[in-house]
Symmetry: C2
Subunit: 408 residues, 2 copies
């Protein structure tokens, strides 16, 4: 394998530039179709054009940067990740895979020129599900399996209105507007977002599987009433019922499997004032596991518990709005990357991803693999999210070698 020197300074500059586009003391808030998101995709399109890549934009706002092949241009070796973040997110989740992928392409272009097959970097529009009640809408659209009809955000804004308004700001001369051909393989570079690689002192994580996950909205309806004059025994306190319900769910999740993650991340009381008994509580549930049966059982237990704690006029209703099955990633690409990591003398570990990724969508349409780098203290989805520079470099080196092996 030729020497492929990665320009780490340039990658660092690129990361800093995008993260500086929405300077926010509470972290990155690059929610899909927001002004900060538009600015980021626009910057990526500009870099693609400056660096002489073929630039394509689809109707969901996903950006594709191609280094077209000279022998088999129709065979596409793709890499990339998503451009959106969670609310108050970190500087690397998604973005590292996009800009690390771009850096790998530039490294190969500079060292070896045009490849045999086409190399593609993808910046998917949305993966986090932080704004609209959907996840992976970018990669689902690319995979031709998306349906976002009728979705609205917290402010009641329609998905398609937000989408068309934002994408219109990205279009421009020399930017192809189409949904491009699917790739022959897809490799996603990403931070681990967990503590395992750091604990094992491994520089690289090779992902064999991705957990399945489900998301629910739970609505507890009671009766709003005066906080002082309503005897405790005569209350229909929607929040008291919520606390009992969630407390039981934590215990049930633990008993089902220590690996089952259960998170209540979003919650709202109505009317939400100090001296009124809450009449209504709405909250979200996120749970994940590599075994579908465990997720099915937890869903049943949630429903049973909701029924058990509901007593007219107080009701607890559970509604699922996301169901993503566990997936196995490509074994051949994983073996190839393990082999390359050994050649590059990078310590590596094979693991399952506890986070959802665009790769679990891509695996439905093409052989897919993932490369993880360690997250300091396992922190992500928070402003403190970070990875040591040598680890960021190691990830791009392995990705570069993998793309070289596949496209040259």
């Amino acid at each position: 394998m030729p020497d492929l020197p990665v320009d780490m300074a340039q990658l660092t500059q690129h990361l800093a530039k995008i993260n500086a586009l929405s300077p926010d003391t509470s972290g990155q808030n690059r929610l899909v179709y927001s002004p900060g998101w538009v600015a980021a995709q626009r910057q990526l399109l500009a870099w693609g054009q400056e660096l002489g890549l073929t630039v394509t934009l689809d109707d969901y706002g996903t950006v594709y940067l191609d280094l077209v092949g000279r022998v088999q241009p129709e065979t596409i070796i793709a890499t990339g990740s998503h451009m959106d973040t969670v609310v108050q997110g970190g500087p690397l989740d998604g973005l590292y895979g996009v800009l690390g992928g771009l850096q790998a392409l530039l490294t190969l272009k500079q060292a070896l020129g045009q490849p045999k097959k086409t190399l593609r970097v993808i910046a998917f529009s949305e993966e986090e599900g932080s704004r609209f009640p959907t996840t992976f809408s970018g990669s689902k659209h690319y995979a031709r399996i998306e349906d976002t009809t009728g979705l609205k955000d917290k402010d009641g804004l329609d998905f398609d209105s937000a989408r068309t308004a934002a994408v219109a700001q990205l279009a421009g001369p020399d930017i192809q507007r189409t949904l491009p051909k699917l790739p022959a393989t897809f490799t996603e570079l990403h931070i681990e977002q967990g503590p395992r690689l750091a604990a094992a002192k491994a520089q690289i994580g090779l992902v064999a599987a991705i957990v399945g996950q489900r998301r629910y909205t739970v609505t507890v309806t009671g009766v709003a009433n005066h906080a002082g004059t309503t005897p405790m025994a005569q209350r229909q306190d929607a929040f008291q019922a919520t606390v009992q319900f969630i407390n039981r769910l934590f215990l049930l999740a633990q008993s089902l499997s220590p690996d089952l993650t259960f998170t209540v991340g979003e919650l709202a009381l109505t009317p939400n004032t100090v001296n009124v008994i809450p009449g209504k509580v709405v909250f979200t549930v996120d749970c994940r596991h590599t075994d579908t049966t465990v997720l099915d059982n937890f869903e049943t237990l949630m429903g049973n518990t909701a029924a058990l704690l509901s007593h007219d006029p107080l009701t607890i209703s559970v509604s699922r709005w996301a169901k993503i099955p566990p997936v196995q990633l490509d074994q051949q690409l994983l073996a190839q990357n393990a082999n390359l990591a050994d050649q590059l003398q990078l310590s590596h570990l094979t693991l399952a991803s506890g986070a959802g990724h665009d790769s679990q969508i891509m695996t439905q349409v093409t052989p897919t693999t993932m490369i993880f780098v360690p997250s300091i203290k396992g922190i992500s989805h928070a402003p403190q999210e970070a990875t040591a520079t040598p680890d960021l470099l190691a990830g791009v080196q392995l990705l570069t070698a993998s793309l070289y092996r596949q496209a040259y």
Copy 2:
């Protein structure tokens, strides 16, 4: 006692007029110094002038309408309540006492002309504590015991800025700007806001005491992290700790006394997004009882439980921002009203108030009593808050008789 016919149609019109000023499908939102509150106080000032009463406005926006006495004008027999509401409140809480008091004055003026002593109707600026972290600021200001220095609302708006801006919109010609003399007695007409009168089929409640109440802000600080990749055992989930804490407090409150009310009415998660473990939770606690010892014990148990559940880096801190002692109201005025209710053949019951009222402030500076009318289904602090018209009439009839006995 002369015949004192109350014009119920006029009272109904007055109530409807004020409630229509802020037409809101989610109930009344007449928070102190808000546009709806300003419109209401301005309407009351206008009525006072039209009806030939002496109109006074103080620096907190409390409105005083006087029917000046001819023999002892310096001796003031006062009635009234507050003009503000909770968030999504009802049409009677506070307002009934203000407009019912006005109706009693008009009834006496029409039937008997000028009284010996001065009759006064008061519309206190704020009682609910729904906007700023303070309660009864209107009656406390009148009683010369208020300190609102440095208070801010949820949007960080300063109490004094909001106050001066709103009161400036109330000032006008023929409106005296001063903090008037304290009254010889104070009688507050109010809805019960509880289920007891309805249960006892009594038209009138005579209030012997008012519960003490305390309000706290609890801050739970954990570590925000990824909802999928952070093993349950390694989380510092601020909301999981919150649920455990509140669940224990419900049990502790119950064991201390069945009459101890405990309400978590307001709560906020940070960052409040579906796939991030909450790093911070802030919520309010409201608890009430007629016995100070019970409130002291509960406060101690809250502190102990917070310390018990805090384990570095997760912390739970409890901060008290309101402490209102239980109070006994005037026995002589209560006896007089019981006697008058018998003469008027109104069924009555003596009880303690589970809600806080301006009367508990007024009792510190003058003999004070309260007259309750039944609340349908005991509902209040909610849009469904209602009282049967015959009961609304009964309350004003008793108030009118009481003011007659004291001022003529």
